[in-house]
Amino acid sequence: MDTLAQLASGFAVALTPVNLMWCLVGVTVGTAIGVLPGVGPALTIALLLPLTYKVDATSAFILFAGIYYGAMYGGSTTSILMNTPGETATIVTSLEGNKMARRGRAGAALATAAIGSFVAGTIGTIGVTFLAEPVVNFALRFGPAEFFSLMVLAFVTVSAVLGNSAVRGLTSLAVGIFLGLIGIDLQTGQPRFTFGLTELLDGINVVVVAVGLFAVGETLYLACFRQQRPGSGDVMAVADSLWMTREDWARSWKAWLRGALIGFPIGAMPAGGAEVPTFLSYFIEKRLSVKPEEFGHGAIEGVAGPEAANNASTAGVLVPMLALGLPTSATAAIMLSAFQSYGINPGPTLLTQQSSLVWGLIASMYIGNVMLLVLNLPLVGLWVKMLKTPEPLLYAGILVFATIGTYGISQSPVDLVLLYVMGLMGLCMRIFDFPSAPVIIGMILGPLAEQEFRRALQISQGDLLIFLQKPLSLALLLVAAAAVLGPAAWRVARGGREAR
């Protein structure tokens, strides 16, 4: 069927009062958690996963997606007014945005961030609309070997390429894969790594790991090194008008479009991630700016471009997630686990088998972006109030919700202990600079990769060469190998000593 007709049917799903309500709840909660430092979309969606027992799948995904892209809007408010990024993807925004706020131009910075997010979010959604089907048609030709190799590529890019260090990123990933292996092996019924605990037979719940790493770990870290963060709690006032001047518009609109065009494709690649496109957009805007001397002192392009880029890349991440079942961010990985709790098979068949879910979700993103524009600009005063939540109460509250999210689904003290163990691990990872997202991605995607791996070997009757004999699979593995070994080989070739 024609894409536009599909999209129209999606709007019919998204515009029902119930789904409009979930969309509004999602984008509102998303903005709120984006504003609050220390709470991110991955954590929030993990806490809300039990909703999947009560709400139908379409509504749940409209809610989760709303939280995901809503958090990007909210994160910019914190970056601009507080110089503490609300989300990692909005680090760059604080570079120029906070400087603008210090010069009394907070209103213009917030406006260009929100309108840019809207423009780019909408462009990104258009991208998802027209890209999902071609990607699915391509992927339908994949066999287990190709899928396994694609997952290997995703593993490598999310852990080894995007972070500071390939070794530490891969270590996080390997720990995640190990956590994903715990429990009964679905193909043979053998228990693995249960250490004699019946609680572990069903595996470790991803909620426990996500909440432990993101909430307990981060809180422990902040409590340990509390005094060393200068200027936290320092919220700038919005002194000027939210209406941008003619010059602001002239300098913003191209940056929005460029940011969207950088963000979406990078988000849609199996590598994913919102950090790379925001940095890329920042440097491009700096090069192209008519007033490059303003960079570092509050240049509006430096807010407009990166904000557009992170929203477009968030939409982009949904392409591999919906079309291939391939999560490339911690949030997408947790959304994927929500599919599993509905018994829905993510992957290329999703678009045909759950077409009203997918198209309803995509349509809801057009609506949600409009809602976010309204929520963020006129209601900015409300979010500023939220930003002023005292730190002790904020983190105490986060831990209470972390307890509900884990103990409340199982009533098992074992889960609570596991939550704390994960928190301590998160603390160590934070101190020694290990990325946490690969743990979640490894845990969710690891078992799926194992399944494809074993399927492929069953087809080839145990011949490992099958991964190299299929051309596409070979190509994907070569790209993955180049991504891991390339930088190291390059250093050796240049004869340079390791500079990390």
Binding site: V175, R226, Q228, G423
Partner: protein, 164 residues
Amino acid sequence: MTRSDTGKGPAWGDTGVGLAVLVLAGVVGSQTLLIPHNSLYAQVGPTLIPWLAAALLAVLGALLTWRGLRGGWEHEEHGVLDAWGLCWLLTGLVLNLALIGTAGFIIASTALFVATATAFGSRSTLRDAGIGFALALIAYVGFDRLLGYKIGPGLIEGLIERLL
């Protein structure tokens, strides 16, 4: 704010992390030996990926240890440890674990809330207790009653049960 690795003495923290990863590799490997082997699935059995995971962890652990011994890797300067804050927070977590099964979620959460707020420098214990109790109550009603979580019985929870 990064530490340069020009000083070539071992960085013991980093080395310790490397060794911990090696220990984990050992645990994964030894536990993989315990997975029963079923000849029916010998080619693609349930142990292949665990072996690969153990091997990957061993290689990475060795690399990290090696780097640790050679001066460690760059990471953010974290400053001085606030031992007092950490103690309060850990106390809160332990209290929560100890109380949640007996006194119930609301009391346990209030204790956790007060201890955490203290860890973050709050000195108004009574106010924190009040806010913590109210938050736990709202959270209990919201999650247990409306969202269908099963938070379990407790002292205050029993009172609410009787009131409703």
